[in-house]
């Protein structure tokens, strides 16, 4: 196991914050008060928590459609996220963005976008600005295995390597693009991280269900990038538990079996780390229950505030176009 007791505790609590939030929101979804297509991060928490723990507050994070975990792990405002899902004025985009466009500039969550691979290049541009201004900040781009098939992924890796930019590419390989398995979409002979190496950047495969391994790999990657040696890619193998978009389980759809899903649920990063920390005497089961209770209270409050918040006035609909 990597990391000090403090780091491991922080990783557990970061993952729990994502899981509790996502599960509570997923449970509320059928009420139809949140009307925005939502790609839940349940099952993929370890990547966001592990990478974020290796970052500084002034590092900039970019994400795709499945952005809740990345937003929360980087310190994104919970209330602003929940209000955004409810389409309210207090939302992080004022009700104009929705689930797939989360942003919190104060927390360094610059932009998320629903178009596959789009923000990979935007992160590279942020890194270009950091490099031009001689800052030692870095940009992180999270994307899935689906985005790897887009030309922009390859253009971005090429550009970042040629320009030696401070950007960390984090591929969350969850094995499916919507319902289509990786085997239908990419050559089995060359892994994603091997393709990154083909562009001349260091790249490592990581078990995306071992949060401490993700943290350790991210720490190495960040050290490499901050020392001015250019971009780095992590390929984190992970798994989404719920349907591609929406709150339901989907093992009765035929593209994957319940036993497939159960095998990953069995490996749950949160449960594993919790058991280890308790066994190591770092924390007690009661403490973990207390943390979870506090998180539940926070989310309940956020939902209540969001429900009570106003919708943006229709007269303001045009504002911000220019």
């Amino acid at each position: 196991m990597n990391g000090s007791p403090e780091i491991r505790t922080a990783l557990l609590r970061s993952m729990m914050r994502i899981r509790v939030t996502e599960e509570m929101l997923a449970a509320l979804y059928p009420q139809n008060q949140m009307r925005t297509p939502t790609h839940f991060s349940i099952g993929q928490e370890a990547t966001a928590a592990g990478v974020s723990a290796a970052l500084r507050p002034d590092d900039a994070v970019f994400s795709g459609h499945r952005c809740h975990a990345h937003y929360l792990a980087k310190g994104g405002d919970l209330q602003a996220m929940v209000s955004e899902l409810f389409g309210k004025q207090g939302g992080c985009c004022g009700g104009r963005g929705g689930s797939v466009h989360l942003t919190d500039l104060k927390a360094g969550v610059v932009a998320s976008s629903a178009i596959l691979g789009e923000t990979i290049a935007v992160a590279v541009g942020a890194a270009e600005a950091m490099s031009m201004n001689h800052q030692d900040r870095l940009a992180v781009t999270y994307f899935g295995d689906g985005a790897v098939e887009e030309g922009i992924f390859h253009e971005s890796m090429n550009y970042a390597t040629v320009r030696r930019l401070p950007v960390l590419f984090v591929c969350e390989n969850n094995l499916y693009s919507v319902l289509t398995p990786l085997s239908c979409r990419q050559p089995a002979q060359v892994t994603i991280h091997e393709r990154a190496r083909g562009y001349g950047m260091p790249a490592q495969p990581v078990d995306g269900y071992d949060v401490c391994a993700v943290y350790a790999a991210a720490r190495d990657a960040v050290a490499h990038i901050r020392s001015g040696r250019g971009p780095y890619l992590l390929e984190c193998t992970t798994y989404r538990w719920r349907e591609h978009v929406g709150p339901q389980w989907d093992y009765d759809w035929g593209y994957r079996s319940k036993s497939d899903v159960d095998a990953w649920v069995e490996r749950c990063s949160i449960r594993t780390l919790k058991a280890t920390l308790i066994a190591d005497g770092v924390c007690t089961a009661e403490q973990v229950d207390q943390w979870e209770g506090e998180l539940r209270t926070q989310v309940e409050k956020a939902v209540r505030v969001a429900q009570e918040d106003s919708f943006p006035p229709v007269e303001t609909m045009m504002e911000g176009t220019y």
């Binding site: 963005g97 178009i115 923000t119």
Partner: protein, 344 residues
Amino acid sequence: MARTITYRDAISEALVQCMEADASIFVVGGGVDDVRGVWGTTVEARRRFGPRVFDVPNCENAMGGVVIGAAALGMRPVWVHARNDFMFLALDQLINMAAKWKYMYGHARGVPIVVRGVIGRGWGQGATHCQSIQATLAHYPGLYVGMPSTPADAKGMLVQAMRGEVPTLVLEHRALYDHPGEVPESPTPVPFGSGAILRRGQDVTIVGASLMAYEALRAAALLQEVGVSAEVIDPRSIRPLDWDLIRSSVESTGRLVVVDTSWAMCGFSAEVVARAAETCLGALKAPPVRVTPPDHPAPVSQPLEDAYHPSPRSIANACLDVMNRNERADTSVPDVQKHFMGPY
């Protein structure tokens, strides 16, 4: 103080003066730092500002993201395309990110990128090197689209773009690059959404931007020979569009001819005619006419190419048609690219 310089030198001067004043401006694009510097428009900026003017890999899709990401972190990128046809590869970033950033994310500052795209014409540029994509770009709220026709506007609109807060596309016309004109020495911005009356007239309003404003002026001279007085309106920016200026001209002449470098279907000319129908139909003494390339891709072979683009003669003849006059315009006016020897 104004003096006479070319369109290309006016562009160069805008870059140099704005980069001098604002360290956050940088210039990227294919060939911006080579000896020719995009027909001389980036040579002086490169000489003075070195690494702030740099060539990049061929990756229009990613480059769109790169300039947007840099702008999101406070920079002011100027991104140059030697042919605007290549910008189709960047449309996702321009339309889905740049145009929507400020609105969708609710950030106080948007992503003020400046994109220069050059429209080609003549010497067999062909189907993929002489399109002009203003209609494609102007369709999307959140962007500005400018099409300067004079050296002063080429400088002033670029200055405005580099000082403004809106993602702005400036389409320059290669056929105008050698044209001289009076240009203020100081970096004087030309606002977007403000058209110009290039020539006063009573009988017919000709609306045309970029090279078509120049061609409309040549057409107006032909029309004068047969006693027709044409008013020439250069909208200068396609989005926002100075509709008030066009409408008041149409209301005064009662006749409208719209000329465009691009096709009629869903094009800029369609927008102008639609607005005329919506706002000043009663003032029209005759149905409006559009003068545009015919509805097919651009051919290469010289006689076909010569027949393809709107010319002073075709514009003048359209005006005569609107006037219900039987004369035809003089055929001796040379093609605007007559002396162009290529390749680009």
